[in-house]
Symmetry: C2
């Protein structure tokens, strides 16, 4: 390893010219490769913005030489003082969570294949009917129906990483105290631009009650009750809005029909190294059944 | 309207003490109310960070007096020099898109009811079978199957604001040049942590081909063809991975079964002022049918 401060060869990191005219060997940012020919910089420790600027400049030119494609920088909110530097070097926002901001820069001249940001929030509506033809309903403390006296089915968000059917059981328990068993998804709907530019995807789930005593949650729920089904369906809002009417139809249709919904069955992840177990929703109740049906 | 520079009453914006000790009447940021007792600041014009700091401080104290709850600030990327100021005043990131960052601050002492960020990306897989029992398949230029020789069904992302069934038709056309008619969604699946902390929700769609000539898209697709169904299903990857096998089962099961999937029907948005038209997916083909069935 023979070398000196003035020797520069292709394989060494590029030389950086500082504002004061001195030349020094800029260090590169710590980084790791991703699966798509790109680089991920996961910044954890504080850094002076000038040092960050010099390292980022040197790193970008090194990665460009190496033919790297998408460059990701994850900045914890505590390092907010580095955001402006990254943006001034050409980075764009990709996504953000409360405690970090993800920035990205596309090096090649070809069109960017940077994946899109998450576009949807996923939520559930829970239809719980008991044997007396009563439906489990709530009144909410906020939102568009606040103070209207309208009774609605329990609804709520599917948490990050949570299964849809588990979210339905959880939300009903949280809002009303009622234990349920998941039966099926009977319908779903998208709502566009429901939250800034994002969309909502709402899954209507049918659940079977395992307990009946109501203990409402106080933070979000004004009232909760078992309501005769005809009374629920006769609310003026149900007459005027498709989804209320639809729920009515679907619930009553269940009496006369088979084969209405989708239900989950465990399924291994394909093509992933970690062999993640997930759930596939369809109306084929069991894959061995479906195989035998298919091969008849 | 009698007043002077020294009069201060409750209804006027608060007084701000500058760093140099002079007292002046700080202007408030331009803002509008949201539907949940909060405030939205949609910053559009550049502002000096010191001026922004003074206005933000005055505004926050005014909004606090008014009993406001969630405070949103939308900063275009061109105003990246204001991000640090907002964070230092206690704002947290909420979400980001390439050209803007949304920050939020929760004023009350009660637990925050700030809605969660989008958690899912939504995509489709398209099953297109012709009358010769051939399935439309592609090989991709990037991703985990790159270079493996595996033939897979066309897949792709649902764009922001796009309907799922329209995305399926569009993706097949883009990747293979084949025109199709949407038939039904036969299954869907969540993949957790597929992209950083986010989840993917993949809808398997069945489509009927309306044309047969293949013109593949060059950017993402290595090859495309109509492949005898048995050959597709006999690929080693299809033997080893649930989802491939599942597609096989579902497609063959269609021959013997009715009532497999969900199809879209137009539906008015409920409870929204803009009366948005969307699509509700279920296996009740027509709401008038379902109503009559329900009332039998």
């Amino acid at each position: 390893m023979v070398g000196s401060m003035t020797v520069s060869v292709n394989s060494t990191p590029p030389v950086d010219l500082c504002a004061n005219g001195t030349v020094h060997q800029a260090e590169l940012l710590s980084a790791s490769d991703d699966d798509h020919g790109g680089i991920i910089v996961d910044m954890k420790e504080p850094m002076d913005p000038d040092v960050f600027h010099a390292k980022l400049r040197a790193s970008l030119s090194f990665w460009r030489q190496q033919g790297k494609r998408g460059i990701w920088i994850k900045l914890p909110i505590a390092l907010v003082n580095l955001v402006e530097t990254a943006v001034k070097k050409g980075f764009r926002y990709h996504h953000a969570e409360p405690n970090y901001l993800m920035l990205v820069y596309w090096i090649p001249d070809t069109p960017s294949t940077i994946p899109a940001n998450a576009s949807h929030r996923v939520s559930i509506g829970a239809i719980v009917l008991n044997d007396k033809r009563e439906i489990l309903v709530v009144q909410e403390k906020s939102g568009k129906l606040k103070g209207t006296g309208v009774w609605k089915i329990p609804t709520g968000g599917v948490d990050e990483g949570e299964e849809i059917f588990m979210a339905a059981v959880r939300e009903v328990k949280e809002e009303t105290g009622v234990d349920t068993e998941f039966l099926e998804i009977i319908a779903f709907r998208q709502w566009h631009k429901s939250f800034f530019e994002k969309s909502d995807l709402v899954f209507l789930c049918r659940l079977h009650p395992l307990s009946f005593d109501i203990q409402k949650q106080d933070l979000e729920i004004e009232a909760a009750q078992w309501m005769p089904y005809e009374e629920y369906a006769a609310q003026p809002v149900a007459q005027n809005h498709d989804l209320f009417a639809y729920i009515t139809d679907l619930c009553l249709a269940k009496v006369d029909r088979d084969c209405v919904g989708f239900f989950p069955q465990p399924s291994r992840s394909t093509l992933d190294d970690d062999d993640q177990i997930g759930y596939l929703y369809s109306n084929v109740r069991d894959s061995s059944q479906s195989t035998s049906a298919a091969h008849q």
